[in-house]
Structure formats: C-alpha cells, structure tokens
Symmetry: C2
Subunit: 291 residues, 2 copies
C-alpha cells in the first residue's frame, strides 16, 4: 500500500512520454523518477513501460494500468481541489464560544453582517462566561477577552478596546464622586471575578488602585445591572454600557481616566482552520478594530 504516489508519477511519465520530460514537469530529478517507476514495476511484478534509450511506450499491462491510474490520480486531484474550494467558499457549521455580554453588544451586528456575507455557514454559538476547553469540546473558535492563558492554543488578536469607569448618578450622589483614582479605594468597585486591582491611565500617568467589593461574580451583564442599581462603580467597555449611559442609568466617572485597554482574542486549538473559521476570524479582525 505504498505505491499510490508512484502511480501518480507513472501517469506523469506516460503523459510526457518521457522520463526526463516528466521529471521536469514534476520538478524531480529524473534519477529518482526512474528508480520510483522501477520500484513500482517490481512491486506489481510487471513491466509497465517498454524503454529504449530514445523512446518509451506502454506495455499491455502498462496500457491497462495507465487507464486506471489516470482516473484515480485525477480523482485525487479533484478531491483536493474541492477541499480548496471549501477553503474559499466556506460552509458548514461554525461552532464558537463567545463571552456572552461582549457578544451581545459588540459582536451581534458583526455576526449578522458575516452571516449575510456567507450564506453557506450555519452558526452554533455557545455564550458563556467560562473558558471552554477547546481541546475536548468541538469548538472551532473561542472569543476571549484579556490576555491568553499560557497553553498550546493559538490566540489571534482581534482588537484592543478602551474601558472606562461608570456608576449610576444615585450611587455617586450617595457615595460621592471620586476626583482622582486613589479615591476609588473607598468605593464599591464591581470587578469581574476577584480582580483586586484596577490600572488606570490618563494621558500622562498610570496608577494602580486596589479595589474591593462585596460582590464576586462572573457576569458582565450582572455587574452592569448592579451598577445601574446603584451598587457601585464598574470599569467597562464603552458599548456595553451604551444603553445605560444614554438612558442616564449610568454616567462616566473620572472621565479623564481610562482603564487598561482590554485585548480581544480569537483562540483556536490549531492553526489548520477550515475556511469558515478562517473567514470568521479575519472578518472579526477587520471589523472589531474599527468599532
């Protein structure tokens, strides 16, 4: 079962009606070609080509073998071409794991646009806040916020987005409006998980403040909701609080400061991606940055 490549070589030799010619076409030294064809003849126990120094012609067995080989090799080439088309005309199910709130606010319109662009793709999104295991679960890609953990996964940066501080007017009335970052130490700062410090920048300075809160949770949406309900200050991506901002439920705090911009990554288990995934990631890279 190690003769299939040699079959392809044989087909080339017959087509070129010459070892040297075929070798040039394939891009292989004729010595190798000669040896490989000889090996093929030996494994099947029949002479396929009748060689003189100047000409080669098919034997009877070679004639029959060639007809079959040509079909087989052509079919193999076709199979690869069609895989190539799969790469350029993506289709199939795209399974992605998305951070729920980021997906809802930032990605929804992009996904709608992408779906319009590639009607062949069907989507299967898993919106969670947990970091799914790409190795054991059959996700094509996971979108992740923040630095990629140290693993063998491939992380492609999609965008770097600014974050700002927000709170509800009533909270600020009650607890006072912080004038500088250090003031945050005396506020209820709602962070994701158990993040214990916020890093803030203005044009010139960078400062780190320890934060504390009575809440530990893993839902961005819930944090925003809590903030809108006057429970504290949040550091958040712009778009996520856009509605609350517009309706006046939240308003910017320390407006000349911003948090450390968060990076968004597309994470995959491998570099060998089907077209659908490649296009999805490329699309996000091109459109997420400009938001």
């Amino acid at each position: 079962m190690e003769f299939l490549n040699d079959m392809a070589l044989f087909v080339e030799v017959v087509k070129a009606r010459s070892f040297r010619g075929a070798a040039d076409i394939i891009g292989m030294p004729n010595s190798t070609l000669s040896r490989r064809i000889s090996a093929l003849e030996k494994t099947i126990g029949l002479r396929l080509l009748h060689r003189t120094t100047r000409k080669i012609e098919l034997t009877e067995a070679g004639q029959i073998y060639y007809e079959r080989c040509k079909r087989i090799v052509d079919e193999a080439k076709l199979a690869h071409e069609q895989l190539g088309e799969m790469l350029s005309q993506p289709s199939g199910v795209l399974r992605a794991s998305l951070p729920v709130d980021f997906a809802v606010t930032y990605m929804a319109p992009l996904i709608a646009e992408f779906a319009r662009l590639y009607p062949g793709i069907v989507f299967d999104f898993d919106l969670t806040s947990r970091r799914v295991d790409l190795v054991s679960e059959p996700f094509d890609v996971a979108i992740r916020i923040g630095e990629p953990e140290n693993s063998q996964l491939i992380a492609r940066p999609l965008a770097v987005l600014p974050v700002y501080l927000y709170a509800s007017p009533r909270y600020l009335d009650r607890s006072g409006e912080p004038a500088e970052p250090a003031d945050l130490a005396h506020h209820e700062c709602l962070g994701i998980m158990k993040a214990s410090t916020w890093t803030l920048h203005d044009g010139a300075h960078t400062t780190k403040v320890s934060i504390g809160s009575r809440f530990t949770l893993n839902s961005v949406g819930m944090i925003c909701r809590l903030a809108a309900l006057d429970m504290g200050i949040i550091m958040m991506l712009e778009k996520i609080v856009a509605d609350d901002l517009a309706s006046g439920r939240l308003r910017r705090v320390l407006p000349q400061w911003h948090g450390a911009p968060v990076s968004v990554y597309a994470v995959t288990e491998t570099r060998l991606l089907p077209a659908k995934t490649q296009h999805f990631i490329k699309f996000l890279q091109e459109h997420l940055g400009r938001v």
Copy 2:
C-alpha cells in the same frame, strides 16, 4: 502531488478510529503514522481529525475528504488486484522470436498444447534465424539455441538436447564412412555459420575436430536439405532429422559418438514478465526437457 500514500494512511486511521490500531493493521510505527497524517493536514491546510488523547473523530472537512479518499484508495486497490488477475489468468498477445527449424520440429506440438491450455492468449511468432534485439523490438521472449551471449538479457535454460552426426547414404558411399572423429577432417562437414570445430563425446572420451565445408549459411533447414542432397555430414538435433532418417535420406554417422549437447534458453529483456510470458516459459521448461 506527494500525498496519495498519506491518503491511504488517513483512510486506515479513520477505519480503525485510532492511530495505534491503524498502525498495527498497516504494520507501521504509530509515530510515523501520526507524523504522516499531520503532514497531510498541513499540505491541504485543514485539520482532518479532531484528536483527544483518547478518541479521534472526523472534522467536517475530514468527513468529506474521507468519503473521497476511501473511493480513491479502493479503486487503486482494485486496479492492483486486476493486474494480479492478469498475472494468474494470462491473456494478450505473446510475441516470441523462435529459431525457425527448432520451432517447427520441437516446439510446434508444445505450442499447440499451450494454446489449448490458455485460450486467452494470442500468438505472434517471429521465426527467424537471426538473434533479434529484445531491447528495441517488442518481443516478450526469444528462444535461443546455444550459450547466451554476454549481455544484460535474462536467459532461463529450457532443455539440454543431444546432437548426433548424420549424412546421406549416397554421400557416405561416395566419400567413405568415417570410423573415428579424426576422419571428419577429410569430410565435408556442414556447420551453422562459420563454426570451425565440432566437439564429440562417446561414453569415455571427448575429442575436438576441425571441420571445413564449402558452405557458410545460417539455416538449419537448408543444411539438412543439403545433407539429404549428399553434400556432407551434419551435426543435428534428433528430431530435426527424424523425417529424413525415417525415409532413409539420412543415416547416423559415428553412432557411438555424439556432439556437445546444446542448451535451449528462453531469453527475456527483464525479469518482470507478464503472466503469459511466465506461463509460456514455465510450460516449455516442463515439456521440452522430457521430449
């Protein structure tokens, strides 16, 4: 175009649903198998198998690719099986070069029998006395009398046949009957081509005599005819002169002596023979010796 073998490996892996299992089936270390599949995935730029340490399953691309690969690999196997059948059920045209007189007397009945045995074979015999060039002319096999010349051809011995001395009664009346080998020096000894000596044996002794004749020719039939026409003594295979012997046109000379037995060879250009040729040679080996 160097991925066809890997396609076959991929098919085996999918069938076995395991790298190790497939490796055992193929008889190949799993390390190689793993590397080859990875290489295949890299060349087509798509992941074909979703691997966990415990299980493997096809990706979408792998699914499609597998369907096609299976067909292709099966077809390739079939092509080889059919070539194998060509080997076991010979058919086609058997082109052979035969020494004309030897063929007529010794081989004709064998050929008739062989033709009955293998109805699929069609025959194309070239009966000449010249030694055809097997390399440039499309003969499957040549039957040759006497030692094979030093060349790259493959010679398989078919039989070793005794030769005796014959002359016409009238020639012997006229020129005297030789009583011992040395007497031949004074006789007209008709040899093929320009053979200048005859080697004779009786049970115990071997002797070499120089021979001479006015005729140089390359036809055994013509020599026999000349001998029957009282032109000299010939050293000949038994069967060739059987008719002349029976009709009394020739009779044995020096009956206790015989010539150096001649070997008959089947000569081919290569060892990789189609079934028809293999069977033909085997048949001749089995039947020529017993004549």
